[in-house]
């Protein structure tokens, strides 16, 4: 029988995690940097690029230079709501969108049959190209130094970060630092009963930094995530699968990428399904899954579940989708999307081979689960700076999120705010009504998540306003203020907005008579004929009509770029809905703008329930709005806070007026 927990588990754990004797290591002080970024995954890359591009002397540490911007799990960027994040990163001046535009091998706009709010771009990446391309960008960015080294300690003086220390004793003084350690802290990989003490893909884990962070009062928790097997393309029978093509007309991620430049030959993905036989094998061996056997301490993501989780959770489903996705153009490896697992190798072997088309497939890499240290992000301010340590920021999977895009988005914001801090400028906080990034970060720092946080469409309350197509209109001005968007790009946006505004004005006033030409066109489009004249806007509002369809009866129409006409159409077609969401945002902002001072002692506020006092003291929300989103804080508690605030304001007011009288 299998013994899951060896005797003297703790001791052997300690040995395996490698308590290295570095007493002989000589410390050496290197030159000082403005910002040190720890980790060069998707979060670290964005953070480092943002700081360097803002003119700060920046250093990025990675355990392996080869693993810069590595994609250790799925070979794609974007997808439902994640595509929005990439667009927003791009609109703020981040790199992810540009990088995937250079290295994608298939692209698709998801949900195109649904409303514009849920359209979302997803591209398959050539993993090796993606990583290499990003590495080159880093290597060629001014002010940016890449250093292959493991950070084992942070130096904190009087509550502020002043430097970081490497495994080999190098001390790098810095004014600010960004933690972007991903899944590497005390990482261990699990494949059934077999445990290896490494980070993803067999890379070295970082085993010392956790203790240093704990020493500085940072609380850590254990999270878990997983990845499926990779198969040899030559051994897969694609005739039993459904081919999944990319879009005929590819839309680039970056607003700066010329759409013409991304129209290229694409490779396909393939769809197949699990079946009862697959499920039976899994059910029979659930006790050998480290999660169900209790070996994994970390909590896994509910929304990106392993195949064994799906079998348990959706017991009534007799099949689940499986996508075979190429890992790149220069490899035969195919990613088996939808079947991540931590079952033992022998079970995996049988399980995968029950799937139609995979009967004879050879497994190149096994599926595994990975467990790592990360933080409850409620220790962070909405700027992603630690409340306890001045100048120490944190982004990415280390903050308890999951996904490349979520990581990159946080990395960018952590980098921006670290830079702003060093430059003595205002911190940047995106609201929930500004961006999915705002939703993501607000959720992370406000709600106590007990599993890796994944971005989802449903998390965004104002999603009709936060569309992927208008990310530039929402955020590029902010990116320009920060300094990551140059004047040329900003001017382009302003011009685009003028064109959109003018065209909306025009079509709202152009009258279309009920003449034969119009009626014929309407009939051809399956629309009812006009009884009296109507404006062009009124016609566009009809569900069955589009801006483009009406070209023939719109005689004054100028030839405008698609990026303009698309916005015109959406603005007109969904005008009523957009206005209603805008008024929801107005209400939301009233609460967001009621600022809670950070020196409030909640336990002294009469009338707050104990649970609310504790939660508020722990999270220290910056606004009434944020307070209202803390679980365990009720509307009645918020009323109490509102009274408290207005009483305080009243008192202040009186003090000020009596002070001025005394003068």
């Amino acid at each position: 029988m299998f013994s899951h927990k060896p005797e003297n588990f703790e001791a052997s754990e300690a040995k395996r995690y490698g308590k290295n004797n570095r007493s002989k290591t000589v410390e050496y002080k290197y030159e000082a940097y403005d910002v040190a970024v720890i980790g060069a995954g998707h979060a670290g890359c964005e953070a480092a690029l943002a700081c360097a591009r803002l003119g700060l002397k920046t250093i990025i540490f990675t355990i392996s230079v080869e693993s810069i911007a590595m994609m250790p799990c799925n070979p794609n960027i974007g997808g439902s709501s994640k595509g929005h994040l990439v667009r927003e990163i791009d609109a703020l001046g981040g790199e992810m969108g540009k990088n995937i535009d250079k290295t994608f091998i298939q692209s698709k706009m998801l949900n195109s049959s649904k409303g514009p709010a849920v359209h979302s771009l997803r591209a398959q990446a050539d993993k090796a190209d993606y990583s290499r391309e990003m590495r080159q960008t880093l290597e060629n960015t001014e002010n940016l130094t890449i250093k292959q080294a493991e950070i084992v300690d942070i130096i904190v003086e009087e509550g502020s970060i002043t430097g970081v220390k490497t495994y080999t004793g190098g001390i790098y003084p810095c004014k600010a630092a960004v933690l972007a350690t991903g899944t590497y802290l005390k990482a261990r990989c699990l494949c059934g009963e077999t445990i290896t003490y490494t980070g993803p893909n067999g890379l070295k884990a970082a085993n010392d930094l956790s203790d240093a962070l704990r020493r500085e009062g940072i609380e850590l928790v254990r999270f878990k995530t997983g990845t499926p097997a990779r198969m040899d393309k030559r051994t897969i029978d694609f005739s039993k699968m459904v081919e999944q093509f990319g879009d005929k007309a590819v839309v680039p991620f970056s607003f700066t990428t010329d759409p013409a430049s991304v129209q290229k030959e694409q490779v396909s993905c393939w769809l197949t399904y699990t079946n009862e036989e697959t499920h039976q094998i899994i059910r029979d061996n659930l006790d050998r899954s480290p999660i169900y056997a209790g070996i994994i301490e970390g909590t896994g993501p509910r929304y990106c579940p392993s195949i064994e989780d799906k079998i348990v959770k959706f017991a009534d489903k007799n099949r689940h989708q499986v996508f075979l996705e190429p890992e790149g153009l220069h490899t035969n490896e195919m990613y088996v999307g939808g079947m991540s697992s931590s079952l033992p190798e022998d079970v995996q072997y049988r399980m995968y081979h029950t799937v139609p088309g995979l009967e004879n497939a050879r497994i190149v890499r096994n599926a595994y689960a990975i467990e790592y240290d990360c933080i409850p992000a409620i220790q962070l301010k909405p700027t992603l700076e630690f409340k306890k340590i001045n100048g120490l920021f944190s982004g990415g999977q280390f903050n308890g999120s999951s996904g490349y895009e979520e990581a990159a988005a946080q990395g960018l914001m952590a980098g921006i705010n670290a830079a702003m801090k060093v430059l003595g400028r205002d911190q940047v906080i995106l609201k929930r009504s500004d961006a999915y990034i705002g939703v993501l970060i607000d959720d992370l720092v406000t709600k106590e998540t007990h599993e890796p946080y994944r971005m989802m469409t449903s998390r965004a309350e104002y999603r009709l306003l936060l569309r992927q197509d208008n990310a530039d209109q929402r955020l590029t001005a902010i990116g320009h203020d920060i300094g990551l968007i140059d004047d040329v790009r900003y001017q382009h946006l302003l011009q685009k907005e003028v064109l959109i505004y003018r065209e909306i004005e025009r079509v709202s006033h152009v009258n279309i008579g009920a003449g034969p030409k119009t009626q014929k066109l309407l009939e051809a489009c399956g629309s009812t004929p006009l009884k009296t004249a109507a404006t062009l806007a009124e016609l566009i509002r009809r569900p069955e009509l589009t801006y483009k369809m009406l070209a023939d009866i719109d005689e004054e129409r100028q030839n405008l770029p698609d990026e303009v006409t698309n916005q015109v159409e959406i603005s007109i077609k969904y005008d009523g809905y957009i206005k209603r969401q805008l008024s929801q945002v107005e209400k939301f902002k009233k609460l967001e703008n009621k600022v809670l001072p950070d020196d409030i002692c909640y336990s002294e506020i009469h009338g707050l329930r104990i649970e609310a006092q504790q939660k508020l003291d722990k999270i220290k929300p910056v606004s009434i709005g944020q307070a209202s989103r803390i679980s365990g804080v009720t509307p009645a508690d918020i009323s109490v806070l509102l009274i408290y605030l207005s009483q305080n304001n009243q008192k202040q007011h009186e003090q000020e007026s009596s002070a001025s009288e005394n003068k």
């Binding site: 439902s80 989802m456 449903s458 569900p543 809905y577 009469h606 009338g607 009274i643 207005s646």
Partner: protein, 458 residues
């Protein structure tokens, strides 16, 4: 600071001896001057000293409304720290209403609930300890600790609103889940299903809104139905309850000759009593209609008074009645206690869980016990008003109207064939609006929310 002038009736809306209208704001005195005439006709309220009382009349143009005493209190030495005018009139609902209408006509605005207190608070008149008392009220409300006789109304509204919100959020959750997990949850064709539900929500909200408009709360009370087999003594009971020493609020003639509807107030609890035709199996067509009607009333009733003739044997008709009312709030009256009893309390107890009281309608005995039982049940919250009666609060009414409007938008979206993700925008609005009624949504305007829980004129 706010300075528009607000007005409200600050005594209860009852036929008390004296009524009081209160005004507060920069124009309070000026407005009072426009409608006040002193006996000599020369006195100007704007010229009198603060904290003085003046006798005179209130006129709307040339039409005299009432003989009054006017109290002038200039800020900051007033309750709100603004200029305050109090007009004491002769009371009576009609006079007070006309007086209020007159001050509104001449420039005041109707105060929001609790707005006087709110102004007192904002102007620094109320200190911290008093504000803390306010906080306690809020907390008590959220804990349902304050649910007593007065908030009975709210109790049943709350249940209804909670049910509606649960339905709405369930639909939102489904749409959202389908967006995020299309592999396992499909929303295609969901519009038709949703339309049916939304129509249901709209009907309910419309009913609540209608009830708010016609002030039935004053006219009606707890819908009480007297049931019993023929000749059990229902009509005698009715007559006793309506007897001279009971307060008859209004008298509405029965709409048909087989039922009679009356309003009485017992210990201040308003009852709307319906006397029904005796229930028995019958071949008589007219009587059949009457019986059917009685059964219908019984189903809708908040309270049933089941009159048993204790001097005759229980029969099939009694069994039918008991079956019908088993799940309702019931008080059993064993009538004819003056005669030789054939049926005992325990005979009934076997079939029905309800308070059982022996009375004699003819001798008028046992009625005190009945009234006390009624009172106990009401204050213990066992009897609720019919839901339709509940919406009296202006804010609640506005919230319901807004929710209804949002649901109409949802219906439009469904009819226009919009993608499912659009439905949740307006569903969410409806959900939030309804949340305001039961305090489950955070309100953006702090002070308004809190002070609306105070009585209007305080």
């Amino acid at each position: 600071m706010q300075s528009d002038t607000i007005a409200a009736i600050s005594t209860g809306m009852t036929n008390a001896g004296i009524g009081k209208i209160r005004l507060s704001g920069d124009d309070a005195v000026a407005i009072a001057d426009r409608i006040y005439r002193s006996p000599g006709g020369r006195k100007k309220l704007s010229e009198v000293l603060t904290h003085t009382i003046h006798y005179g009349y209130i006129y709307d143009g040339d039409c005299m409304i009432d003989e009054v005493l006017v109290l002038i209190m200039r800020g900051p030495n007033s309750y709100t720290r603004e200029d305050v005018v109090e007009i004491d009139c002769h009371g009576g609902v009609v006079v007070m209403q006309r007086l209020l209408e007159t001050v509104l006509k001449y420039g005041a605005r109707l105060a929001e609930p609790g707005e006087f207190t709110k102004r007192a608070f904002l102007n620094g008149r109320i200190d911290l300890s008093q504000a803390e008392a306010v906080i306690d009220v809020i907390n008590a409300k959220s804990d349902m600790a304050l649910e007593s006789s007065l908030s009975q109304l709210r109790g049943s509204v709350k249940q209804k609103i909670e049910k509606l919100r649960k339905g709405i959020i369930g639909n939102i959750a489904f749409i959202e889940a389908a967006l995020d997990d299309p592999e396992h949850i499909q929303a295609e064709g969901f519009g038709d299903e949703l339309a049916v539900q939304v129509r249901g929500y709209m009907d309910e909200l419309q009913k609540m809104l209608d009830s708010a408009d016609n002030g039935r709360i004053i006219k009606e009370g707890i819908k009480t139905v007297i049931l019993g087999k023929p000749n059990a003594g229902k009509s005698s009971l009715m007559n006793v309850l309506l007897g001279e020493n009971r307060a008859i609020v209004t008298e509405i003639a029965g709409t048909t000759r087989d039922t009679l509807e009356e309003n009485v107030s017992i210990h201040g609890i308003p009852l709307n009593i319906i006397d029904t035709a005796g229930i028995r199996q019958t071949e008589d067509v007219v009587e059949k209609i009457g019986v059917k009607k009685a059964i219908g009333f019984a189903e809708e009733a908040d309270l049933i008074i089941y009159v048993v003739d204790s001097s005759t044997e229980m029969d099939q008709n009694d069994e039918n009645i008991i079956r019908m009312i088993r799940d309702k709030k019931v008080i059993v009256l064993m009538n004819k206690s003056d005669l030789k009893p054939v049926v005992s309390c325990s005979d009934i107890e076997q079939h029905l869980q309800a308070p059982i009281i022996e009375i004699s309608a003819r001798e008028e005995t046992g009625l005190d016990a009945f009234e006390n039982t009624l009172k106990d049940m009401f204050f213990a919250g066992d009897i609720h008003y019919n839901d339709e009666l509940c919406i009296t609060n202006v804010r609640h009414k506005a919230a319901i109207a807004a929710a209804l409007e949002s649901l109409k938008m949802v219906m439009n979206s469904i009819n226009d064939g919009m993608p499912e993700d659009f439905f949740s925008i307006d569903l969410m609005d409806a959900y939030e609006q309804l949340g305001h009624i039961i305090g489950e949504a955070v309100e953006d305007d702090l002070v308004d929310t809190i002070f609306s829980d105070f009585c209007m004129g305080k």
